[in-house]
């Protein structure tokens, strides 16, 4: 299906590749980020961090630090304890230290905070603090964490006797076991989806500005969810007087979030406490290493994956057993009822009878996290498992992995499709996507070339990933965070001259909301997108919403914008009927105006109708032209994609070159094709990242081995192949504008395409699986072990 633009370019509704309205200020260096905020009398905070993964704090000696010129205070856990602010809840109802009173639980954990008159003095003070530790043997290997001999880490939890956090399961265990027992073919791999970091260009930070006179806190903060944060602050600090009406959270421009700016980090709470106690604004901005070493990680799932099928390639069942390394506390950013997020989407794009999935989460001496890094809550892990196993199964039975997929896809007639784990996939056409990708890349030609190359001993691989995403959390019956339902909101105000401002409960971090939301409203009201100002991020002005992450903005707030705009269009119709002296039923709408059926010369533009709403509205009608909507989605949306990757491998060095990468995405109706393409490019680059470069690595003592960007390898333009993108369009049937969300698809779908291509290249030597990131060294080692070199 193709999409046609219903509006003119001047209006700039859906389907127009309008240039991003926000880019003017970004490209000219006029963005306003947290670190740009400077307030009178502002103080600066720095944080002393633990060099050890697990240690008792014997003494914190601040004397020398307090002598450093400019240092005003050193705050420790004992200081916060007096106000009962030394602990805070996590989003998953676990608990996390703000500052420790006794024990540090991971390397780089916050130990004390320095408040000083300059950023430099604060850092000098940090260097001067002396902490005495009694080092203990940490639990690092998650597989050993449940050993009876492992120390119990969370002794703060009364009655805790092991390092187990929770068990979760879904599916039909008995039926799945029966299918596995009788299946002709069973394949199994142990895989690790590595612990990675969002590594956004802007690190986290805040300016906490507490006014004693007004008993009011303004919190400027790099947050993807300002409204939820305000509520959390009120819940944590209400007892010291910071109730919700006394708190204003402002999230200014954000330099990349990717899920890493959803959680509340201890630094934020300490900054608030410091400002509250001292009565001056306190700025805290992490440096790069702190960001990488202490802020929330993503992924870190160890998965035992199994697939059962027939000899000729019909998938019968899957089984996934997950060991989730959560670090020292469960600080995942998941909806409350979903401890594994949406991992249960792991049945994938395939139509088969049964599955069983289970997960156990455990504590280790690593930083907490589990954020949804450009991924709708653990979908990346799920997609990797199913897409890797699909290729594994194809390899086992000697069938082409593309054909195997065609033979197992959920047919497009079967939508809405009820998955074995309870999801209702809204729409999809997987076959069309894969066909399009195969045509674009010349799949047949590549397979021929591969055969020739293999005969010469050269390594070339082709990898496919045909994934289904699940985004847009979510319907209020299932989805909440700390009890707050996961709706989102839009408020539109049209001024008398027909120009508008609209505010949202979400918060862009680079996604281009200022443009796409304006286009949605332009589509519905015919007011040019140029004339619609979009604002987000200020809890005093924007309507309440749960924020931007998990590709939820378009499915929720974007839908709210469309519905609110339709309420206004209904009002405009009433005004038009009044002005044109016809009944509402006699009016017809075309983008930008109402006209009388059969008499198109009798019409009123939206601008005229808005003006009338302020100057000449019908008696009995409320004046003004404003509408608000809180949108509770009836279902999630299920974007999909078909990705094909071609790699060439240098047998002697193990170097991998991604020769081509074709990505066909289906995100339903497209608001702005250029922005979608940009999102896909960025997402694919963040997809090669864990596939080939990134993972946070710890030694046995819990020391991070790559805690700076010198060794944590974020790919650049040089490492990025030429992305070839395209799309199919299968609108969401339940979304007001048929859109699905796209920001995360490429990050979710790319890693298995790359891993599959690499394994495909190496498969002649008996290699069936390699864990990502697949580095040259790993490839070389595997070839060596198989005697190939």
């Amino acid at each position: 299906m193709t999409q046609v633009c219903k509006t003119s370019k001047a209006i700039g509704g859906m389907g127009h590749s309008m240039k991003r309205k926000e880019d003017g200020r970004f490209l000219q260096g006029k963005g306003n980020y947290v670190d740009d905020i400077k307030l009178d009398g502002m103080l600066y905070m720095d944080i002393v961090r633990s060099p050890y993964a697990y240690a008792k704090i014997k003494k914190i000696d601040s004397e020398a630090a307090l002598k450093v010129p400019g240092v005003l205070a050193v705050i420790t856990g004992r200081d916060l304890e007096q106000y009962n602010l030394h602990w805070m809840p996590t989003l998953m109802s676990d608990t996390q230290m703000v500052l420790p009173t006794d024990t540090v639980m991971y390397q780089a954990q916050e130990v004390a905070a320095i408040i000083a008159t300059s950023r430099y003095a604060a850092r000098d003070g940090r260097e001067a603090v002396r902490v005495e530790y009694e080092v203990m043997k940490p639990v690092i290997d998650p597989f050993k964490a449940l050993d009876p001999s492992a120390p119990v880490l969370r002794t703060d939890k009364p009655g805790k006797t092991d390092n187990h956090i929770w068990h979760w399961e879904v599916g039909d265990k008995a039926r799945t076991e029966a299918v596995f027992a009788s299946a002709d073919v069973v394949v199994k791999e142990q895989m690790h989806i590595p612990r990675i970091h969002v590594a956004s260009i802007e690190t986290c930070g805040c300016v906490a500005d507490y006014s004693k006179v007004n008993n009011h806190l303004t919190m400027y903060m790099t947050t993807q969810a300002p409204h939820a944060i305000r509520t959390v602050i009120a819940l944590v600090a209400g007892h010291v007087g910071l109730t919700e009406e006394k708190v204003r959270v402002i999230s200014p421009d954000i330099g990349g979030g990717f899920g890493g700016k959803v959680p509340v980090y201890p630094g934020y709470v300490i900054a608030i406490a410091a400002s509250f106690l001292i009565g001056k604004p306190v700025k805290w901005i992490e440096d790069r290493s702190e960001n990488l070493q202490a802020d929330s990680f993503a992924r870190d799932y160890h998965i035992t994956a199994e697939m059962a099928g027939t000899k000729d390639g019909k998938i019968l069942a899957t089984r996934f057993k997950v060991l989730a390394d959560h670090g020292y506390t469960d600080a995942s950013a998941n909806p409350s009822k979903f401890p594994t997020g949406m991992f249960s989407i792991a049945t994938g794009s395939y139509d088969y009878g049964t599955t069983f999935m289970e997960a156990d989460a455990i504590y280790t001496n690593k930083p907490p996290g589990g954020v949804a890094y450009r991924c709708s809550f653990r979908v990346t892990e799920a997609v990797h498992a199913i897409e890797r196993m699909t290729d594994r199964y194809a390899l086992e039975i000697g069938k082409d992995p593309a054909q195997l997929r065609f033979d197992n896809f959920i047919p497009k007639e079967a939508f809405p499709w009820h998955s074995p784990t309870g999801w209702i996939y809204d729409s999809g056409d997987y076959e069309a996507g894969l066909r399009k990708a195969m045509d674009a890349i010349d799949y047949e030609g590549l397979r021929k070339e591969q055969t020739e190359k293999r005969a010469k001993g050269e390594l070339m691989g082709i990898g496919i990933s045909t994934f289904t995403e699940v985004v847009g959390a979510g319907p209020s019956k299932d989805f909440d965070i700390l009890g707050i339902k996961m709706f989102d909101s839009a408020e539109i105000r049209v001024h008398p001259t027909g120009k508008a401002i609209a505010r949202f409960g979400t918060k862009s971090q680079g996604q281009g909301h200022e443009t796409t939301y304006a286009q949605i409203i332009a589509e519905e009201l015919g007011i040019p997108a140029e004339n619609i100002q979009i604002e987000e991020g200020d809890t005093d002005t924007a309507p309440y919403g749960l924020g931007t992450y998990a590709s939820r903005s378009t499915p929720t707030a974007g839908a709210a914008a469309a519905v609110a705009a339709r309420k206004l269009r209904d009002k405009a119709r009433k005004i038009a009927a009044y002005l044109l002296e016809v009944s509402e039923d006699d009016l017809e709408w075309e983008p930008g105006k109402f006209f009388v059926k059969g008499a198109p010369e009798k019409s009123k533009t939206i601008q005229e109708l808005v003006f009338a709403a302020y100057t000449n509205h019908p008696q009995g009608m409320e004046a003004g032209f404003e509408a608000t909507h809180y949108y509770d989605p009836p279902n999630l949306t299920f974007p999909s994609g078909a990705y094909i990757c071609v790699v060439d491998i240098d047998k002697e060095t193990g170097e991998i070159k991604v020769r081509r990468f074709v990505a066909i995405d289906d995100c339903g109706n497209i608001i702005n094709p250029m922005i979608v393409q940009g999102q896909v490019h960025g997402g694919l680059t963040q997809g090669i990242a864990p596939a080939m470069y990134e993972s946070l690595i710890y030694d046995d003592d819990g020391n991070i081995l790559n805690g700076t960007l010198m060794d944590y390898l974020v790919p650049t333009a040089v490492e990025s192949p030429n992305w070839e993108t395209g799309h199919t369009i299968t609108p969401s049937p339940h979304h007001p504008i048929g859109a699905k969300g796209v920001g995360e698809s490429p990050t979710v779908g790319a890693p298995p395409a790359i891993a599959n291509a690499i394994v495909d290249a190496l498969s002649p030597y008996g290699i069936t699986h390699l864990d990502i990131p697949i580095t040259p060294f790993k490839v070389w080692k595997a070839l060596k072990e198989k005697g190939a070199i």
Partner: protein
């Protein structure tokens, strides 16, 4: 950068710089491109009392040929090397190496002199200079000395430069006709230090006999390293698959890499072998071209 406090001096002559160096002793650090020094100060691995910025001293930024010697001023930037036609004509290896030193930002600032003075076997120029048998000119208040590259590196971050001295120039002997040079390193991503790197310069006479071989290795030894046995394996012989294999094997055996996230010792030795082979081929091709 949130470095510790430091003084900043910007002398406009070498003499002025020497006076300052004498004043601060080993509490001073010279600043050239700053792309090794500043990261260390940012992480507070280095907290010098004084930074002596030598960028305002004239006469240190030229690439000139004087008879049999090619001279590279200490402040010549990588970006300048990339476009130095005469240098690249005689030493194509510089086109190889600058391309592999990080990204344009780093190359616009980083200097060849600083790259050597930093004294890090992970940097790329040390191995190149070994292959070319370069010398380093070191100046102090009491005069100037010329130190062969083989005697320049002392240890990790430690070189022949004394605290009161400045590296002012690099001198490279002009090659005989039919000389070719090449460099490559394996890196995990752009700007990474080498998993292994190999620099080769060869001269091949009219009879196909190798009359000169220079081979330097990057980041596979505590100090920048000359692969002496590999050189010997080539000189006086024809460049054949057998001699190349022998040279590669020696380089692989003689280096002393340590395991890190880039790979284990076995992998690095193997990569030294592979790259030595490839760079000899490439240099030989360039020599006869």
């Amino acid at each position: 950068m949130i470095a510790a406090d430091f003084n900043y001096e910007a002398p406009t002559s070498l003499d002025e710089a020497f006076t300052l160096l004498r004043k601060y002793g080993d509490e001073a650090k010279i600043l050239s491109g700053g792309h090794s020094l500043i990261p260390m100060m940012k992480l507070r691995f280095a907290s010098p009392e004084c930074i002596i910025d030598i960028n305002n001293i004239p006469g240190l930024s030229d690439i000139t040929r004087e008879g049999d010697i090619m001279k590279i001023g200490a402040l010549v930037r990588e970006a300048q090397v990339e476009h130095a036609a005469e240098l690249l004509e005689h030493f194509p290896i510089f086109a190889d190496v600058t391309k592999l030193i990080a990204d344009p930002q780093v190359r616009n600032m980083g200097t060849v002199g600083g790259n050597l003075a930093h004294g890090d076997a992970a940097n790329d120029h040390p191995a190149v200079m070994m292959a070319l048998r370069a010398s380093v000119v070191i100046a102090g208040a009491d005069g100037t000395r010329v130190v062969p590259i083989d005697e320049f590196f002392f240890g990790f971050y430690s070189t022949a430069i004394q605290p009161d001295e400045i590296l002012t120039e690099i001198q490279i002997p002009m090659p005989s006709p039919y000389t070719g040079s090449a460099y490559h390193k394996l890196e995990r991503k752009v700007g990474d230090y080498a998993t292994a790197g190999v620099a080769v310069q060869l001269t091949i006479d009219a009879n196909g006999i190798c009359t000169y071989a220079g081979i330097g290795l990057t980041n596979v030894n505590p100090l920048p390293m000359r692969a002496a046995r590999s050189e010997e394996a080539l000189v006086g012989k024809k460049i054949t698959d057998e001699t190349i294999a022998e040279a590669a094997r020696y380089a692989s055996d003689d280096c002393n890499p340590s395991a890190d996230l880039r790979g284990d010792v076995e992998y690095k030795r193997a990569m030294v072998g592979v790259l030595t082979k490839r760079m000899i081929h490439k240099a030989a091709q360039r020599a006869v071209a």
